[in-house]
């Protein structure tokens, strides 16, 4: 019981820490990896709480697949949260004035 409680408390603390890191991190790739770690911890917690099926699902879908589709998205969009838009010639004409003023 003591071991169970300690491990759950430690995992819960790490869970919150990782989630905060994922939200605060400006580099999205690191943020996504943090969410992957969050899923990993979640999966362990599910296992500890006698839910092996859910743990397996979270492991296969949450850790592997969700992370990878996030990574693919970041590869196809921008990596920094505070990115500066890259403008192509063709798009420049379609910008509104506010956006033009920013650059």
């Amino acid at each position: 019981m003591i071991l169970f409680t300690i491990s759950i408390v430690v995992l819960a603390v790490i869970l919150i820490g990782v989630a905060v890191y994922a939200v605060m991190q400006k580099d999205l790739l690191f943020a996504v990896i943090a969410t992957g770690i969050m899923s990993l911890i979640l999966s362990v917690l599910f296992f500890l709480m006698q839910a092996p099926d859910v743990a397996l699902t979270e492991a296969a879908i949450g850790i592997a697949l969700t992370t990878i589709i996030f990574v693919i998205t970041i590869r196809n969009t921008s990596r920094r949260e505070d990115e500066v838009p890259i403008l192509k010639e063709s798009d420049a004409s379609e910008m509104d004035d506010k956006q033009k003023a920013k650059i």
Binding site: L15, V23, A31, Q50, T66
Partner: protein
């Protein structure tokens, strides 16, 4: 050591982290400007709710709801199994959440194609 209420500690840790995840995710959804970050926030909220649901189904010293070779007799001997319903529902919810995340991310890619940016404050061309 005897008078430590383990259940109290556990409930604070589990419920606290579940609610914490929900709040952190909400913060990201409401405050962050980058589309990918907002989707990350949504999946953090989802994670919190899944954790909460599993915790609600958990029974102290319970076993997982799978009958082993001599499993059937375990029931009558008084060993408890945890509630299987939340687990089945969370399994469904995780898969559905993946579907929603995939569609959301594909829309992010689409928006990036059109605007060359994924920041919400720079692509609001539609009126509210």
């Amino acid at each position: 050591m005897e008078n430590i209420d383990f259940n109290q500690i556990l409930s604070i840790a589990i419920y606290g982290s579940a609610v914490g995840l929900i709040l952190i995710g909400l913060y990201a959804v409401l405050m962050k400007k980058h589309l990918t970050k907002i989707i990350i926030g949504l999946s953090i909220i989802d994670a919190g709710i899944h954790l909460l649901f599993i915790a609600i189904g958990y029974i102290s010293n319970g076993t997982s709801p799978i009958f082993s070779e001599k499993g059937i007799s375990l029931v009558s001997e008084g060993t408890k199994m945890v509630d299987p319903v939340p687990q089945a529902l969370v399994l469904t919810a995780i898969v559905i959440g993946f579907g929603v995340t995939a569609v959301a991310l594909s829309l992010v890619i689409r928006l990036y194609r059109h605007h060359q940016t994924a920041r919400i404050d720079q692509i609001k061309t539609l009126k509210w």
